[in-house]
């Protein structure tokens, strides 16, 4: 699964085993879901939404943090 952080245009590749809540996926890679508005195929979803391997996720930052602060 591909997750793109929109400020830095950084692409993160995540291997998903089945379906999972996007909030949990982000926490597993060290990203706080509350720091981003999550977009799936350009539409806003909540951190409780379930995502699949083929989904393309974009993260729109809500604050001025840079990814390196928590990755």
């Amino acid at each position: 699964m591909e997750i793109i952080e929109l400020r830095e245009r950084k692409v993160l590749k995540v291997k998903l085993d089945g379906r999972k809540k996007i909030g949990e996926v982000l926490k597993e890679i060290g990203i706080l879901p509350s720091l981003y508005v999550i977009l799936r195929n350009g539409k806003i979803i909540t951190e409780e939404d379930v995502v699949e391997e083929e989904d393309k996720i974009e993260l729109f930052p809500v604050t001025k943090f840079r990814l390196r602060y928590f990755l």
């Binding site: 806003i44 979803i45 909540t46 939404d49 729109f60 604050t63 602060y69 928590f70």
Partner: protein
């Protein structure tokens, strides 16, 4: 996930009240929150002319969109052009898009036009003269000075800023951790709780709105605000506090709202009317002999 109030897809989950919101219910929820803040703290009266301090960022734009949609006020955009290299170009472009799409009139004034120098030039002078001013300290003081000037020129009743709940709570903890009590009384939905001749009162309609809510709002309206960071933006201690607060909120939903309530009550209880006089150089109201803006300009050798 489904909206808690209808069968549509949710775009926002508020952990602090455990509700899911679809686009329509989310926008109504935020507008209602802002209107309640305005009414509870008497931030503005129906028909008043509100100048929105429009930086071209997401929060000031959300503030503008919400106040416009509430429909009770006359709205005017107020934009300052500091002169920060290429960074400002993205913001200018975005403000033009807002003007065009929303049919909002925006008044502009630049640092160069008013002070004779851009912020970039002032920062270079301060560095050359080894003055103890950071870009943010020069910008913050001169912005407040100039926005007040522009607001008076445009005859607005109030200046609305896009400060969110996260901004306020972060500033509160910054002041608290440096044992700085005086600025604490200046926090709250109204900046400057007293009406002072010569100052246009500043209000914060997004005082109880999380910055994630503000960002979700603007994206749900179909805007894509620029993501560029100001080249001068410090990302040190202030942001460590902000990140710690985010982590705490994650485990304790509603924490920021409780602190926001505390700040608002604290301000009402401990406010003191400042002694105001006229600046000996520019004649603008200040609590010092020479206002901070004139002091900076004089030390930079711009006066």
């Amino acid at each position: 996930m489904k909206c808690s109030f209808c069968s549509k897809k949710a775009i926002y989950y508020a952990k602090y009240n455990q509700n899911f919101y679809c686009k329509r219910h989310f926008e109504d929820f935020i507008k209602e929150k802002v209107l309640k803040t305005i009414q509870r703290f008497k931030l503005a009266r129906k028909g008043e002319k509100i100048g929105i301090s429009l930086s071209g960022g997401k929060d000031s734009t959300t503030c503008l969109l919400i106040l416009k949609e509430i429909g009770r006020y006359k709205i005017k955009g107020l934009n300052l052009e500091e002169g920060i290299g290429k960074y400002e170009e993205y913001l200018k472009k975005f403000i033009k898009e807002i003007e065009r799409r929303e049919g909002i009139d925006v008044a502009r004034i630049s640092f160069r036009e008013f002070f004779g120098k851009t912020l970039d030039e002032m920062v270079a002078i301060a560095k050359k003269k080894k003055l103890p001013y950071s870009a943010c300290s020069i910008c913050g003081v001169l912005r407040r000075y100039l926005i007040n000037f522009l607001a008076k020129k445009e005859r607005v009743n109030k200046i609305a800023t896009g400060h969110t709940l996260n901004d306020e709570v972060q500033t509160f903890f910054m002041d608290l951790s440096s044992n700085n009590i005086k600025p604490l009384t200046r926090l709250g939905p109204r900046t400057g709780v007293w009406r002072i001749r010569g100052f246009v009162q500043r209000i914060k309609p997004l005082f109880f709105v999380y910055e994630k809510e503000s960002t979700t709002y603007i994206l749900s309206k179909g805007y894509r605000p620029p993501l560029n960071l100001c080249p001068y933006a410090p990302l040190g201690y202030r942001w460590k506090i902000r990140l710690a607060l985010y982590k705490y909120e994650e485990k304790n939903p509603g924490f920021h709202l409780k602190i926001g309530e505390f700040i608002a009550r604290f301000q009402r209880k401990f406010r003191k009317k400042p002694k105001i006089r006229k600046c000996e150089i520019c004649g603008q109201p200040t609590n010092r002999e020479i206002c901070k803006a004139c002091e900076i300009l004089a030390r930079l050798g711009i006066y």
